[in-house]
Symmetry: C2
Subunit: 344 residues, 2 copies
């Protein structure tokens, strides 16, 4: 049923997506320039002078977001008119929250992930472009304009970081390799845990915020604490961008990412890159028996994700076995989240 | 008592510090290169192959940290032999935890802030260099090597961002200006709250971890939640670098930073930059009456910090009044932290 592509066709699509990410990112940078201007050392004007700001910042951001999506969509339609397109802005404008991806070649795009960061000029925002075939993201491109850094992958070809800054060198993912590639024996102790507080802040005992906080504190607390659930992770990180959380998991910068509530455009490119780098991604919600139940493949539209970084083999344990061990140790410490999804 | 400097002497010291930060950062980048190597597109070798890693990552990081401090200290001694030097590595190697800064011209340096991030190749690490006179940080330089970005200030001369990437333009801090410069009327609602989980993870009701979690959840929860303490901040961020938290507050990317446990080399440069950008910094711990008690100037060695970003004036409220309002609204929601300090 699903359309097939030759290796050279896929490489062409990958190169197109890589270039498209950078071009889209340039539009985001132009939006930044509109908001900050360009001042010489001697220019007068102190805090909040507003001299440099000619438009309302939020208006500029909204318009830039739409502009980038229109640009990306237009380029894809021009070069690949037979492909489907699902974009964050287009989707959000509609009333349905259904999972719309089918087996056909589909581009899944978030023109601006980390919108709040972008508005505040905090560099942790990005363009996210995925090419999905038969429900599987097989190409992923994540471009961070303020770092001029791209994380990308093509299935079978590898996952890569292109850093425009440090000598412009292309590096294979994960970046963190060698001895660091082995997951800690006492994980989650020793791990960097990446998590987001999200938008659901209802102060109710059964609500997502309390489930998250419970889970965060279990992961953070000393070994032996929290009724035995204390995980003593080495560091807790919250960036405000699910897409970049996944990119940093693929790079090996973070070890564990656990989140609920994201949409497919937030994670499709990251899933492609993470898998090609050797990472594992499954569901956030622990099964009935976290010790023994099967570790299912992630479902793209599930809105529930647990990702473990690429891991090296060690004596008596393959990398995959270590990842599965960390999945189970995380599941034992986190609570099921409640993010409903029609059609998924 | 304290030595005095002319404006041109201070400008020379500032220029020296700016250059020193970048040169120190280059040593950190060399440490990154040692750990990731330089691979061509076609190079074989998968996850955890270890082919690219010739030394133990942690050894490289420790050695790099020491190398950077020795380099910075050596340069300062060469150019300014009469100045005092306090560095993170030197200090930590000693047994005293006393506050050692006095009125004399003193360089306060963290060669690598965000060491865990550096080890994991997560870009949120930096060099931090401050020049302190009569207990006041009057020059600050924070350099992020992987972003090739410097935040800096000289008292009376302004606070600046030099971004090696986006056209290499020099921008005055705060970057976020115009309408965004006004602090939200309902703050902390609408604010980006930056906070760190820290290393103290004891699971005891009176311990710092519980006080922090309590405070975080108050700031995050919906308005009306948490017995009226819910602050409904717009976003929660944790970077794992106190120095960069302060840099992003000075830039206006984050609105509120609340933290305990840092040392003077973590914050001295950030305090200089934040103040020169127009920000406010005081103590993390709420006074007896958060509504009316005076808002004291921060003490450099206090280990307790609450910082508010630069803020514009609005109708009926100056920027300073708005900052003080946000200090009080934060104090109402956070708990006193317990970080003892001999001699401070």
């Amino acid at each position: 049923m699903a359309q097939t592509f030759s290796a050279s066709e896929l490489k062409q699509i990958y190169d197109f997506a890589l270039d498209l990410g950078r071009r889209a990112g340039r539009i985001l940078i132009e939006g930044v320039e509109k908001r900050t201007g360009d001042v010489g050392e001697r220019e007068e004007g102190g805090v909040g002078g507003g001299q440099r700001e000619k438009m309302n910042a939020v208006d500029i951001v909204t318009q830039t977001d739409l502009d980038v999506e229109a640009f990306v969509k237009g380029e894809i339609e021009r070069v690949y008119p037979g492909h489907k397109f699902i974009g964050e802005e287009t989707y959000s404008a509609g009333s349905s929250k259904e999972y719309l991806i089918d087996a056909s070649p589909t581009w899944v795009v978030d023109p601006l992930d980390g919108t709040v960061n972008y508005t505040h000029l905090f560099p942790m925002f990005c363009v996210s472009i995925a090419f999905v075939l038969n429900h599987v993201p097989i190409i992923g491109v994540i471009y961070q304009p303020l770092l001029d850094t791209t994380y990308s992958s093509l299935v079978g070809y590898g996952a890569w970081q292109d850093d425009g800054k440090v000598g412009g060198k292309r590096k294979r993912l994960p970046l963190v390799n060698g001895p660091k590639a082995v997951l800690p024996r006492e994980a989650p102790k020793g791990c960097i845990f990446s998590c987001e507080w999200g938008k659901d802040r209802r102060d109710t005992a059964g609500g997502n915020m309390w489930r998250k906080v419970d889970s965060f504190v279990n992961m953070a607390a000393e070994i032996g604490g929290r009724g035995g659930k204390g995980g003593m992770v080495h560091g807790m990180r919250s960036l405000g961008s699910a897409t970049l959380d996944l990119a940093y998991i693929a790079a090996g910068s973070f070890d564990i990412w656990w989140e609920g509530g994201c949409w497919e455009w937030d994670v499709a490119a990251g899933i492609a890159i993470l898998r090609e780098a050797g990472g594992l991604i499954t569901t956030a919600n622990p099964p009935a028996n976290p010790e023994t139940d099967p570790i299912e493949e992630v479902r793209l539209g599930s809105r529930l994700y647990l990702a473990i970084r690429p891991a090296g083999d060690s004596e008596g344990e393959t990398g995959r076995q270590a990842q599965e061990r960390v999945v189970r140790e995380t599941w034992k410490r986190v609570r099921a989240l409640d993010y409903a999804r029609p059609g998924a």
